[in-house]
């Protein structure tokens, strides 16, 4: 049941799009009624204010009952115009909200604003996105470099002291929550030794030319934490790939041909381990983005994760929906890339 690579890619893409839609639908189902209730309230307040502020209009009513009736009527009109009288699952309305989200039109945030003062959810997210990408891509790259090197080294010396230390470190380091290690790092490097700032948000404004430098300095502590907690399991993974490959026939043949062990590991074995490594790289990038919510909250890193955390705290629903969409899209793109890369390198995966 092997299928062509093209069909495989298309099939995966369709699944991923399905997942994106399903996630969006669930999100809207969960927050939609809440959002409508909040919008209803703000419409009611708006109308009340508009009418009572208009002294001329108020004076035309003879008694308060008429005025009340007029206001109520205006409210209903406005609510109907905005489609708020329909439930979230009313098909045209649902379609419209899905379409809006797909085209990145998330509306305006209720409370949160971007550093430049815009309340457009798209602006806010686009402002935070580069910082999250900067931190987590840098961390993932450093982690994978250390991990591949250390993994190859311990894979070449199975059961050596280094190999055992790597495995132990991998198991122990992956048992601690990253955010807890983050708190410890803040304790050690911001309180005991005052090397790095405890809060990772630079104090100078974005427009200042020194902002980038300050941002990089503030990035040091979260970066060190992510690398520290991450490289162990990477090394362990690469080690296992290498150990598996070193038992294969072609390696034995190379050994018999007199090629040095070192050369076999760093050229032939690593080359063969590349496809799974690239796949895991893509997967861990997306995985770290999910973890960004908590990690950024601990370090107060001004990225998408902290934005999400803030949005939850004040229940800023447009921001929550927008962020969920963007995070899901990121997540799916990297899963998709991982899948496709793996399918490209290893045709066995493509079976139905």
């Amino acid at each position: 049941m092997k299928m062509s690579f093209k069909r495989f890619v298309i099939k995966r893409a369709v699944t991923m799009f399905g997942v994106l839609m399903a996630t969006l639908l669930i999100t809207i189902a969960l927050v939609g009624s809440n959002m409508d209730a909040i919008l209803n309230q703000s419409v009611a307040i708006d109308v009340q204010k508009q009418v009572t502020d208009d002294k001329h209009l108020v004076s035309t009513f003879k008694n308060p009952q008429d005025l009340e009736a007029y206001i109520e009527n205006q409210k209903q009109k406005r609510i109907a115009a905005l489609g708020l009288d329909k439930p979230w699952y009313y098909p045209p309305k649902l379609g419209l909200s899905m379409y809006k989200i797909l085209t990145l039109d998330f509306g305006h945030a209720k409370f949160l604003t971007s550093d430049t003062g815009s309340s457009d959810v798209k602006d806010i997210i686009l402002e935070k996105m580069p910082r999250t990408i900067l931190l987590f891509t840098t961390a993932t790259l450093i982690i994978s470099l250390i991990g591949i090197f250390l993994g190859a080294l311990s894979g070449s010396k199975i059961n050596s002291k280094l190999d055992k230390m790597t495995s132990t470190f991998a198991i122990i380091s992956s048992s601690f929550p990253v955010w807890w290690i983050g708190m410890l790092m803040i304790f050690v490097f911001a309180f005991v030794y005052q090397i790095f700032p405890a809060r990772a948000t630079p104090l100078i404004p974005v427009t200042d030319p020194g902002y980038i430098g300050s941002l990089l300095y503030h990035m040091a502590l979260p970066l060190i934490t992510l690398v520290l907690i991450g490289f162990g399991s990477w090394a362990y993974l690469v080690r296992n790939f290498i150990v598996g490959i070193m038992q294969e026939d072609f390696v034995t043949a190379k050994r018999a041909a007199g090629i040095s062990e070192k050369k076999i590991i760093y050229t032939h074995a690593l080359k063969n381990a590349a496809p799974p490594i690239i796949t895991v790289l893509a997967l861990s990038l997306s995985g770290s983005l999910g973890g960004a919510i908590i990690t950024e909250a601990v370090f107060d890193w001004p990225g998408m994760g902290r934005l999400y955390y803030e949005a939850i705290n004040v229940l800023d629903l447009p921001v929550i929906i927008g962020e969920t969409y963007v995070l899901t899209a990121f997540f799916l793109v990297s899963i998709f890339l991982a899948d496709v890369l793996y399918g490209y390198f290893d045709p066995r995966v493509r079976k139905g």
Binding site: V19, T23, I171, I172, S175, I293, F331, L332
Partner: protein
């Protein structure tokens, strides 16, 4: 391919790591038993009620740190049995309580609190005086209790941070050879006059309650000298006893971890085996659905679920199961695909055995060893995810989990202020609990896997 429990145990007992895991687990269960037996269930509610922790010290280190320090930190002292005296001069009735303490520590107390219940009619006057080892006498406070025409019981606290107390104490600034304006009450009352160091010796705290016309009583009367160390694990910024919180966290973490793991594995197993056994269209559509859940970003969705639907501990367990079963379903499906080709399965099918009977009698029992290994391996993820949610402030607020303790620690900036005893123990507990299950799962994997490869 059958496993007898004896056989499994025999192999397991040879695995040192697995035994270490069992050992840790036994200790954790013992801690849970201690928590359940010694701490009444109703007191769960008190964890987030600040008034139930008032008589505890604020941000106190664990008591054992004193063994490592040359200058001893004060322990928490609750002075309860004062010398009671009462007298009357004409219309004026006086009740006085005198607390004596021999203060022998090298550091100032963290604060002091007077807790009382006064029974009176009218509006009595409450005064507190301190007589220090050097004979100096300071008035700490002079306040009248709320007016009441009938006899009433009034329960109150007087804190060392009270403004009028600060004013009274600062009146004595001529006694001290250094400026005291910026010092806290306890740092002045317990200080030598020459320099700002602790003056050791006997302190007498005298509480006088004056009333006109009728006698008034102090029914409860406690003088609390806030320690800088307390108990096995110290206290947090909200004066809560961290020993209690950490103990409570153990059964909660085990409950969450084990329930989520069992729930996910049972659902995943049945779902996967059903899909694999049925095959064709059923398999295809069930696995598509599985793919969709598998690719969903769990944490954002968990957050939205907790925000909109609710965050009771049982709901959170349910949400975690919702995302936990997919991986297991995938593996069980591929195992079921193998097993259903075995002759005895095909034989019972030909004999007209019903599908659900074949699944539950012939296929699932074969997967039980794998299921137990997966349960052990799923527990740590469930515990850390719940801790993460609690850390974001989305956990069940009525139960103090380790994640919640860390959430509070982060809210009060414990890391940047160096309150290490608030941060280290909960995280270590999370990791150790996770490790115990990782060890057990690892050991079971070793037993289970070579046989399944056959």
């Amino acid at each position: 391919m059958s496993f007898s429990s004896k056989e499994v145990w025999h192999e397991f007992s040879k695995n040192k790591i697995g035994l270490a895991g069992i050992g840790i687990l036994v200790i954790l269960f013992a801690m849970s038993a201690v928590a359940v037996l010694t701490i009444p269930i109703e007191s769960f509610k008190e964890w987030n009620d600040p008034s139930s922790w008032l008589t505890f010290p604020k941000s106190a280190l664990p008591a054992w740190v004193n063994y490592f320090l040359s200058e001893k930190m004060p322990e928490h002292m609750i002075l309860q049995n004062p010398q009671v005296a009462s007298q009357n001069v004409g219309d004026i009735f006086l009740t006085s309580n005198i607390f004596v303490v021999n203060y022998s520590y090298d550091k100032f107390p963290s604060d002091f609190i007077y807790e009382y219940t006064a029974k009176y009619a009218g509006s009595p006057l409450l005064q507190i005086w301190v007589t220090r080892p050097d004979g100096k006498e300071f008035q700490l406070i002079s306040t009248s209790l709320p007016q009441s025409k009938i006899e009433t019981s009034y329960h109150g606290f007087i804190f060392s941070t009270d403004d009028s107390m600060m004013k009274n104490i600062r009146k004595n600034k001529d006694s001290f050879m250094f400026p005291i304006d910026s010092l806290l009450a306890q740092d002045i009352v317990f200080s030598k006059t020459g320099q700002n160091n602790v003056l050791n010796g006997y302190y007498f705290f005298k509480v006088n309650l004056y009333n006109v016309n009728s006698k008034s009583n102090l029914e409860t009367s406690k003088f609390i000298l806030g320690g800088k160390v307390y108990g096995l694990m110290g206290t947090d910024e909200l004066r809560r006893n961290l020993t209690v919180g950490l103990l409570w966290g153990t059964p909660l973490a085990l409950f969450i971890g084990i329930t989520v793991a069992i729930g996910s594995v049972v659902i995943g197993l049945v779902y996967g085996v059903f899909a694999g056994y049925k095959g064709k269209k059923t398999d295809e559509s069930l696995m598509r659905f599985n793919d969709i859940i598998y690719a969903m970003p769990a944490l954002p969705l968990l957050i939205i679920l907790a925000v909109t639907i609710g965050n009771s501990i049982f709901l959170i367990v349910g949400f975690l199961v919702l995302f936990g079963w997919v991986g297991i379903a995938k593996v069980s499906r591929s195992m079921a695909l193998q097993i259903k080709t075995f002759q005895y399965v095909e034989a019972s099918k030909i004999m007209g055995q019903k599908d659900y009977k074949i699944i539950f009698k012939h296929i699932i029992p074969q997967l039980l060893p794998y299921a137990f290994a997966s349960i052990a391996i799923s527990v740590p993820a469930a515990i850390t995810t719940e801790a993460g949610l609690s850390f974001l402030g989305l956990g069940d607020p009525t139960f103090p989990t380790w994640g919640q303790i860390l959430h509070d620690a982060n809210t009060y900036g414990a890391a940047a202020r160096g309150l290490w005893w608030w941060i280290l123990p909960p995280g270590i507990m999370i990791a150790v609990t996770g490790l115990a299950f990782v060890f057990i799962g690892h050991a079971m994997d070793v037993i289970v896997n070579p046989r399944l490869k056959r």
